[in-house]
């Protein structure tokens, strides 16, 4: 989620995010430039929300006493990181039984992918990526306060969580660290770690860390890997090979999730498929590479719903009989406000404006067309934090109904989908969801077998 834009959109962040520890170091450096940190030897950090790459970040000094100092990093008014400095006794954390033969890393670290079972008791050491001079150059004021080796130790915690333990599928949640005396610090002696507890219910990993400069505890989540949709073979076992013959399905947002699954269902039933992607070209081509060798017709088209419809769909060589509109921005937002003007505008643009533009495009072509509008049970159930999403979806429903009656060539088909297994709904907390194909297949059958208009 930090380096690769395509991979990042399949994580809980939904887009590239900065390293949380990087934000902390920036905050501490900024503070150190203003006032000495003398005496503050305990640092607690909670990473509350992702900070998107290039997002404006506000550093707030929230409270300051003789023995504690609290700062926050905020994005769009919401707290993303809480940083608490304290004058406290030297940490009582003692690292025991570290088996350095398990993992010893230095230099460029290959990203590891661990199962929860593999994380139990995992231990080792990671050498800082650079020498103290590099950290001192990047964070001169902070290094002057806590020592450049300690700065390197903090930075190494990001490598620990993101690359080693849990590794690839991780989210840094919290760190509680004590700084040791600068005089005792040894350059590039490495940070030793040992996982002390792994809570399999919530996929939480607690890890003790220790170096010549820092000692403490790191908590992180081992998130689920991106959701994998059923294979074409698995789908074909549930679909008659001729039940969608004659259909040409244009699937907007077909590179993954429900769009990918719909493509497989239609293709398994003998229909032709045109997948569109906005950024996930690799994902779209992965789906295509599964369908075409099996004898299916599958074209891939770049299409950004926010762009000009006529220009982008003018390249179509097949005339669609059916359109599936799965285009969506990130659904689950982390802001604390009930309503966000920006979030609402983005949802509305995807679910209303862009949906209308596609229907209008095909209505002008005057070729009979059926359009699937996937609404959501969130419209009725109204889960917390989804107000803007639900408002936009209900507006889209109203629009789809009026398009059905007002555009002669276009028939719309509206269904409220429950929460289904996709990257968008991936969660650390176990959420009972229905199998997507069990929900989607009956709807697709109903959609394809209903009469079309003859405008």
């Amino acid at each position: 989620m930090h380096m690769d834009a395509i991979a990042a959109r399949r994580t809980q962040a939904g887009a590239q995010a900065i390293h949380g520890v990087h934000g902390v170091l920036w905050a501490l450096e900024t503070l150190s430039a203003i006032q000495p940190l003398g005496g503050f030897n305990s640092l607690t950090v909670k990473f509350e929300r992702f900070i998107g790459l290039n997002s404006p970040v506000q550093l707030r000094l929230v409270a300051s006493t003789a023995t504690s100092l609290r700062m926050e990093l905020a994005v769009d008014g919401s707290v993303a990181t809480i940083i608490l400095l304290k004058k406290a006794p030297v940490s009582q954390y003692v690292l025991l039984d570290v088996d350095n033969t398990q993992i010893v890393e230095s230099g460029d670290i290959a990203v590891r992918e661990h199962s929860l079972e593999q994380l139990i008791g995992l231990s080792g050491s990671i050498v800082e990526a650079a020498g103290p001079d590099a950290y001192e150059a990047a964070y001169p004021h902070l290094s002057g306060n806590i020592g450049a080796v300690a700065v390197g130790g903090l930075a190494t915690l990001s490598r620990l969580v993101g690359q080693v333990s849990p590794g690839l599928h991780s989210i840094f949640q919290q760190l509680t660290i004590s700084f040791k005396d600068i005089g005792a610090q040894t350059p590039q002696a490495g940070v030793r770690f040992k996982n002390t507890t792994v809570d399999e219910r919530f996929r939480l990993v607690s890890c003790t860390v220790d170096s010549s400069a820092i000692a403490g505890m790191v908590k992180s989540s081992c998130r689920h890997p991106p959701t994998v949709q059923p294979s074409l073979n698995a789908v074909a076992a549930l679909v008659r090979p001729d039940e969608f013959t004659g259909a040409v399905a244009l699937i907007i947002g077909g590179s993954r999730g429900l769009g990918e699954l719909t493509a497989k269902i239609v293709a398994a039933g003998g229909g032709k498929v045109i997948l569109t992607y906005a950024v996930g070209k690799t994902d779209a081509e992965r789906v295509q590479s599964e369908l075409v060798p099996a004898g299916a017709s599958c074209d891939v088209l770049h299409y950004d719903v926010r762009g000009d419809v006529d220009a982008q769909l003018g390249a179509l060589t097949l005339v669609p009989t059916h359109v599936y509109y799965f285009a969506t921005p990130k659904i689950f937002r982390t802001g604390s406000a009930i309503h966000s003007v920006d979030a609402h505008a983005e949802f509305f643009n995807y679910y209303v404006n862009s949906f209308y533009n596609i229907c209008d495009h095909f209505n002008k072509v005057k070729s009979p067309l059926s359009v699937f509008y996937p609404s959501s049970v969130a419209v009725a159930e109204r889960p917390a934090g989804m107000t803007d999403y639900a408002m936009a979806k209900v507006a889209g429903e109203i629009l789809a109904q009026d398009i059905d009656s007002g555009m002669p060539a276009v028939r719309t088909f509206i269904r409220r989908l429950p929460r289904l297994d996709t990257d968008q709904t991936a969660s650390l907390v176990t959420v009972q969801t229905e199998a997507a194909i069990d929900v989607l297949l009956p709807m697709i059958r109903e959609f394809h077998h209903a009469e079309v208009k003859h405008g």
Partner: protein, 83 residues
């Protein structure tokens, strides 16, 4: 264990989880009343409570937790069961 003692024990847990000392625990207090009380915080609370009281919640018990009052009730019941 009396409810009052449970509330007293829960107070520092909420203070630690939310890093705030101004949250007043009442039976009606729920996620909608505290900024940032999302599923991640819920997990933190649950794990901290388990550590504090020395038991594990069952999944079905977690499903019943709608507010602090529910949490106190489950803690009381599980403590009673421990004897």
């Amino acid at each position: 264990m009396q409810d009052e003692a449970i509330y007293t024990a829960l107070a520092p847990i909420f203070e630690d989880v939310f890093m705030r000392d101004d949250i007043v625990l009442t039976p009606e207090l729920s996620a909608k009343d505290v900024a940032g009380w999302d599923s991640f915080k819920q997990i933190e609370i649950i794990i901290a409570v388990e550590s504090q009281f020395g038991f594990k919640f069952h999944t079905r018990e977690l499903d019943t937790l709608r507010n602090v009052g529910d949490l106190v009730r489950v803690v009381r019941e599980k403590n009673s069961a421990k004897g």
